[in-house]
Amino acid sequence: MKKRLYGLLAVSFILGLTACGVGNSSDTNSQSSPAPPTAETDAPSPDNEQAAGEQGGTLVVGDVILDTQMAAINPFVPSNTAGGLLKMIYEKLLFFNSITGELEPEFASGYEWSEDNMTLTYTINTDNVWHDGQPVSAQDVVFTYTALKNEPVLDRYMIMNKIDSITADGNKVIFELNQTFLSLPYYMTEIYIVPKHIWENAESVSEELNTNPVGSGPFIYRGYNVGTDIQLDANKNYWRGAPKVDEMIIQMYNSSPNLTLALLQGEIGATMGTIAVANIPELKTKENFVLQLASGFNNFTIYINHENELLRDINVRKAMSMAINQEDLITKGEYNGVFPASPGWMPEVFGDLQSEYANSAHVYDPQAAMELLESAGYTKGTDGIYQKDGKRLSFTYHNAAGAPAQQMEAGMLQQWLLNIGIEIIPRLATWPELTEILQRGEYDLLQNSGVFPPDPFGAMNTYFHSSMTAPVGEATPGTNYFRYRNDEVDRLLDEVSSVVDRAQQRELYVRIQDIIADDVVFLPMYNIGERVPYYDGGRYAGWSGDAPIYSTRGIIEVYEIK
């Protein structure tokens, strides 16, 4: 009996090993496992630059994508699917270059406003064709925007109620507005154009799964392998010129740590998704490693509730601002992978609209912070916390649960505030809970991101106009969660909404930012935009310097070094 049992065990073990093919794994595509970089062969050198113009090969990148996100590839709901994939397949009328801050041609070659700013006309780029060979036309744009008008659930920025009609005239698309809306072209950089001849038979565009997408972008969807990768073919007929590589593979990972490990190993040449920030120092030691950084549309911020009696005191807010070491936050918290957020809110991505005064308004000086509080009549109690009229400077501080980087930064911020005699009571909440708390104003201080569209007016108005807020206990109609009210800011925002001249716009935006900075409406942390890690040299080169890597203009230049 014993011998039979041992024999069974041995046979099972051997069969198991045989079936599973123990040995050096040759599973990964040999082209997707580049040789580890060495100082002798793979350091960036003039030889790599001479290789410009190389054609062929496979670009392998990685992204955090779950299989659930591949169940539908509907460009009308880009937030629910693999965003990086949509950028490769589809185009928008124009794209917003976050490196230069300019609008650039894509599906359309340009636009112009009528004299009264009530008609917006785009000229369609007729050099382009759809992936199935059909020519693009203005009718595709009319179809796309009419679909948005007919299904409000897809119109997340609520722009379609400002548009009366959309018509085509030859290769032009004409939008007739019912009110001045100069920011409209910026919002249109978020809307992908779809082929009318494929989508017109859909009962409801919002319910189409579109699992075999046809676009006009630089890559054509080939298919995907469950839990593994998405495969794309180069569009040889792309109007900007065919991509230099023959194909692109987007490897799917379940989490940022797995994605980062793949990047560390050299399994992928770049990522489309967020990497684990704590690994940035290690990545920077890798040969040829580059991090493309650009300012963007997300300000991580400490929200201050201006309905709180103590926080309504400008001296308290100024003191808190002076207690925060923004440089340490960026170097130690985010490993220099972000930009400083401006106390005037406007990010660097909007170029010359940013106020220099507001941008440099933040000063780190804990000693001066305490002196300011004392000059305002606050005295330190025996517990080391400042107080005035029997009220201690003690505030709840909400931040995200299950977000290690956020919690580490919250710890830094809480300690800095404690150092100047302000007590912090930490509160953890999930991201959805934080949103609800902000909306209802049921907080004192709250650390969260502030996202806005590629539109300077949208960025400022929705966060600071008094019409975008509500009393504590009620949900705000916009994102003025601060409960901030300033008549002069309202007046300036109302005025800038109808100004066309760039110089005039700048003057008004600068005044708005200066007031916001002086009022210390919030405590700025950092701004996040493009943060794309990649290896330049070794295996790939040609990465764009003046456009985001994953823009249609940038991605076609990347080539595999032979």
């Binding site: 009996m1 014993k2 049992l5 069974l8 065990l9 599973c20 093919g21 123990v22 040995g23 050096n24 794994s25 599973d27 990964t28 595509n29 082209q31 392998v60 779950l66 299989d67 659930t68 169940a71 539908a72 709901v77 937030s79 629910n80 699917t81 409000p152 659930v153 119109d155 997340r156 920025y157 609520m158 919002s206 189409e208 080939r222 298919g223 392998n225 469950v226 839990g227 593994t228 495969q231 490897q251 799917m252 990972y253 379940n254 797995n258 909440a429 999930t430 991201w431 959805p432 949103t435 609800e436 996202v451 806005f452 569209p453 929705t462 949900a475 705000t476 109609p477 994102t479 969660y481």
Partner: protein, 329 residues
């Protein structure tokens, strides 16, 4: 089923249906007691927190209706086999998402459970028969060590050692990168098996330890019974005593454990999926909870509840077949 009356069977089935209804009701209420409003969260991420847009979404997904009306609609949909549309991956039906993810979960969880049980029984029997030997000490000591280590530690150890350093197995995914799209299923058996090896091995190691110790204890306990002493006194061969009398009694406690494990298999192995970037229902559930995707949370938990209730019922109905001493009325 002479030792099981018809009325018992009917009562068990009705009990199972009642349990299922309670589970589905809790399933409906649980996501709604989480803080935050999913539509406000979606609007804050994608539409600058527009209240108007959040209200449009609420109407779209029926969240503007009263709680009781939503509950009746939920039960009605379930009876028609409709789990609704996912919020976070709109417009994909929840049934599509679950049917996509579950086969991969079942592949690794069921195969690892069955292999772990089989190996646990085998090793447990040998350890019991060779009680006090070097083999017994190694096996029991090893089992206690593994049980004390958290799963993610075991999983990461295997990933780094067998995948990263030795490169014996792929470090993640269900298939090799670059596998031609539309490959016939028979060409994928080898690659799928190779890619599933590390996730399955990690689950086997973790599940094996405790069950093996339990099996060993069961065998030792049965061998101390009077009827075994009688059989030995009558001169029956040891193998016959083990195979004909001891094993079946020792296996009985493990049987229920196996049925429960198989029932909860559809719940996924989220840590396994995270470590090995493997597809499955575990990550789906986690992301559904993070996004407050009510229909997806409800759909996944409904499947888990159904599976556990069915396997529990089967265990109750099959047990008398395995143990004729049990009479159920």
């Amino acid at each position: 089923m002479s030792n099981m009356s018809v009325s018992y069977i009917l009562r068990r089935i009705l009990g199972a249906l009642f349990t299922l209804w309670v589970a589905l009701t809790i399933n409906f209420l649980l996501p709604r007691v989480m803080g935050g409003n999913p539509m406000d969260y979606i609007a804050s991420k994608n539409a600058m927190g527009s209240l108007e847009y959040a209200q449009i979404l609420s109407q779209q997904f029926g969240l503007d209706k009263g709680l009781f009306e939503q509950y009746i609609s939920y039960l009605g949909q379930l009876l028609r086999g409709n789990f609704g549309i996912s919020y976070s991956t709109f417009p994909v039906p929840v049934a599509d998402i679950i049917s996509r993810a579950i086969p991969w979960t079942l592949l690794i969880v069921i195969s690892s459970s069955l292999i772990a049980f089989a190996m646990a029984w085998l090793l447990g029997i040998i350890a019991a028969l060779k009680k006090g030997s070097v083999f017994d000490n190694i096996v029991v000591g090893g089992a206690f060590f593994i049980q004390s280590a958290p799963y993610f530690f075991i999983g990461m150890l295997m990933l780094m050692f067998l995948g990263y350093y030795l490169k014996w197995f792929p470090m993640g995914h269900a298939l090799p990168s670059g596998t031609p799209i539309g490959s016939p299923w028979y060409k994928l058996i080898g690659p799928v098996t190779r890619h599933a090896f590390l996730p399955v091995l990690s689950l086997i190691v973790v599940n094996l330890a405790g069950r093996m110790v339990m099996m060993r204890s069961n065998i030792l306990q049965v061998f101390s019974e009077d009827y075994i002493t009688l059989a030995q006194a009558k001169g029956l061969h040891r193998g016959k005593i083990l195979g004909k009398y001891a094993l079946r009694n020792a296996l009985l406690p493990s049987f229920t454990g196996l049925m429960l494990t198989l029932g909860s298999a559809v719940g996924g192995a989220i840590t396994t999926e995270m470590i090995f970037s493997y597809p499955g229902i575990g990550m789906t559930i986690m992301n559904a909870i993070h996004s407050q995707d009510y229909p997806l949370i409800q759909g996944c938990f409904a499947i888990i509840a159904l599976s556990v209730v069915i396997m529990n019922l089967l265990a109750d109905l099959l047990y008398p077949l395995l143990d004729p001493r049990v009479v159920l009325k």
